[in-house]
């Protein structure tokens, strides 16, 4: 028999208490790992989602640029519009490598959605794009292939009744190439919605970006459907050379256009990271509290276990156990609880990562498409190591109490 086996047998004496104590550690570790995963994941997710917009600079109507950027990422209502002639003015700027005008509108899915459940999304993002410049901006977009998707293509630039559906939008609506897509739109200045019928000319492959949930149609058609001819939501721009100096120069040249602002997506990214960082601090506080409670729980459980076994500890000393051996035994028990709790907590964090991701996404509402929680082997290893260290610290006091017991007094306590 080894000390570890002996310690394990001692822990099995009160299985419920051991399980509850280890459960407390597991919960704290799960929270800490999820937080760590969030810390690792969210910056990358924000950067990735912004990167998939395809441009570095946005020209948009004056207003809160971060709200607009979030809108670009996840869709929504309350969009502001800028005059289309801004595009005409800006597009010949020598620093521009690529530029694409985008119009975004929200269509209700009356008569089109196959799902009537209350939780089903009740609107679709319609994105009016200039197909040629949009494809330059997002060269990775490709059409889905296979049965029902043959002949997928972009709509003709002047088409009035064709749409290209993002992967998830098509999946949700169960639409394939050649199918009909209905959109109910309330045009600007009107109160009653108008039903529009389109034909699906192509379905895009999954891109892992906001494009997956979008339905694309020609820019002019979108402007007309929404009653906003001559208006855009944003102008996406990729600069030949993107850095702070170039960005300031570019901004300086065009900030004079009335009602228009130039926003760097780096700024947006920084703002979103900062916004999430605030939430992260709150979650970190919860994690710290959970860890403190777990450590106190471990100390309490081990102390109770020591007090219950004072007589036994006296006997062990009588049959030859030295102080350091009693210390080691109690310490090992603490370590086993913390190690078991840490492993269970890591498993819990991994298993619930998807749920945690969804919950954080719902809570933060920042509209990134990539995973917010990224749990890596290194993170799990750090969590287990941290638990072991905390376990060792938590075990010092109870182990010292046990090791310091006088054998005669301890044996006498048995009564």
């Amino acid at each position: 028999m080894t000390f570890t086996a002996f310690a394990w047998k001692n822990l099995t004496r009160r299985p419920v208490r051991t399980m509850l104590t280890a459960g407390g550690v597991a919960l704290a570790v799960a929270v800490a790992v999820s937080l760590g995963g969030f810390n690792l994941g969210y910056k990358r997710a924000i950067a990735g989602s912004i990167g998939q917009l395809g441009f570095q600079v946005m020209v948009m109507a004056k207003g809160c640029p971060y709200e607009a950027a979030t809108m670009m990422l996840k869709g929504g209502t309350g969009l502001l519009y800028l005059p289309e002639d801004a595009h005409t003015k800006i597009k010949n700027d020598p620093d521009i490598a690529a530029i694409t005008p985008i119009f975004i509108g929200i269509a209700e899915k009356q008569g089109s959605s196959i799902s009537d459940t209350p939780s089903a999304s009740s609107f679709t993002i319609l994105s009016g794009v200039d197909e040629a410049s949009f494809r330059v901006m997002k060269p990775w977009l490709a059409f889905k292939k296979g049965q029902g998707y043959e002949g997928g293509r972009w709509f003709a630039p002047d088409s009035t009744n064709e749409v290209v559906m993002g992967f998830e939008a098509a999946e949700y609506e169960q639409r394939k190439v050649g199918d009909v897509f209905y959109a109910s739109v309330t045009p600007n200045g009107k109160t009653e919605p108008e039903m529009h019928t389109f034909k699906v000319s192509g379905v895009l492959e999954r891109s892992g970006s906001q494009d997956d949930g979008t339905v694309f149609l020609p820019l002019k058609t979108a402007q007309k459907v929404f009653g906003r001819e001559g208006q855009l939501t944003i102008i996406g721009i990729k600069l030949r050379e993107f850095n702070g100096i170039r960005m300031r120069e570019f901004e300086g040249r065009w900030m004079g256009i009335p009602e228009v602002q130039v926003v760097s997506l780096e700024q947006v990214k920084g703002a979103l990271v900062s916004l999430v960082g605030t939430a992260q601090t709150m979650v970190a506080a919860v994690a710290v509290i959970a860890i403190i409670v777990a450590v106190i729980g471990v100390i309490n459980a081990i102390l109770m276990s020591v007090y219950e076994r004072i007589g036994e500890i006296g006997i062990m000393k009588a049959v030859g156990a030295a102080r350091n051996q009693i210390f080691r035994l109690i310490w090992t028990e603490t370590l086993l609880i913390c190690l078991g709790g840490a492993v269970a907590g890591c498993l819990l964090a991994v298993v619930t990562a998807g749920t945690t991701d969804a919950a954080l996404r719902h809570l933060l509402n920042i509209g990134v498409t990539q995973g917010l929680v990224r749990i890596t082997p290194g993170l799990l290893g750090t969590a287990v190591l941290g638990s072991v260290i905390l376990g060792l610290l938590a075990g010092i006091w109870p182990a010292r109490r046990a090791a310091g017991l006088h054998p005669v007094e301890a044996i006498r306590s048995i009564g």
């Binding site: 028999m1 047998k9 062990m316 030859g320 030295a322």
Partner: protein
């Protein structure tokens, strides 16, 4: 009768403070324990038997007097040195058995070896289990044993380190007479066959009769000491 002196106590005192009162649990006891002899300590409750046992087994330190185990003065030694002396020389058996409930019979018997840092040799473990009549119960837990069997485990636990002195504090106190006699036979077997010294306390005069020597305590002092030859000479 007896061989070398293994434990020697001179003027052993153990005082306790109870509030403002000083309790003289042991007050100037002289005692020698030799190898191969069985010494019984008799006396009424509160006479100092357990206190003396605790001193002789290096579990407690005398307030005054000297105590030598194997020729080495142990009074005043720090706990870590007393542990070294205990674990190599003394085997302890308690009235209440005090087995570890989560360990099997074999694991309880082998427990002192864990603290000695030795892996139990299956042969010696089997020998001890056999000697205490528990060879067929080695994988049982204490809760599955009778009182007599539990005391056998405790004796096995004391014998596994091949001690020079077996110290037993009322080892048959919780057993019926027949079981108590059987257990006592095990102690005497260790004394007669392995030359172990036995020090035990008991209220059972029949068992005391079977020891080589009896030491009677009253109020912390030795009031009588009788050897086997003196016992034989006494009229019955």
């Amino acid at each position: 009768m007896g061989g070398n002196v293994i434990i020697s106590g001179r003027g052993l005192c153990r005082y306790y403070q109870r509030g403002s009162e000083t309790v003289r649990a042991l007050d100037g006891v002289d005692i020698d324990i030799r190898s191969g002899e069985a010494v019984c300590i008799l006396g009424p409750s509160g006479s100092g038997k357990t206190t003396l046992i605790n001193l002789l087994s290096a579990l407690d330190a005398p307030t005054a007097g000297t105590l030598a185990i194997d020729g080495r003065r142990v009074d005043g030694l720090p706990e870590h040195e007393l542990v070294t002396i205990r674990r190599g020389t003394l085997g302890y058996v308690f009235q209440e058995f005090h087995l570890i409930p989560t360990l099997t019979v074999a694991e309880n018997v082998a427990l002192p070896l864990l603290f000695l840092g030795k892996k139990p040799a299956q042969e010696s473990l089997a020998r001890v289990l056999d000697s205490v009549g528990l060879a067929d119960r080695s994988s049982h837990l204490p809760k599955e044993l009778s009182g007599g069997q539990m005391q056998r485990v405790a004796i096995g636990r004391a014998l596994i380190i091949r001690p020079r002195v077996l110290i037993a504090d009322e080892p048959t106190g919780n057993l019926d007479r027949q079981t108590g006699d059987t257990i006592f036979d095990l102690f005497l077997k260790a004394v007669r066959e392995e030359g172990v010294a036995l020090v035990l306390t008991t209220h059972n005069l029949a068992l005391a009769e079977r020891c080589d020597r009896t030491v009677t305590l009253e109020d912390g002092k030795v009031t009588a000491e009788t050897t086997v030859s003196e016992k034989a000479a006494q009229p019955r």
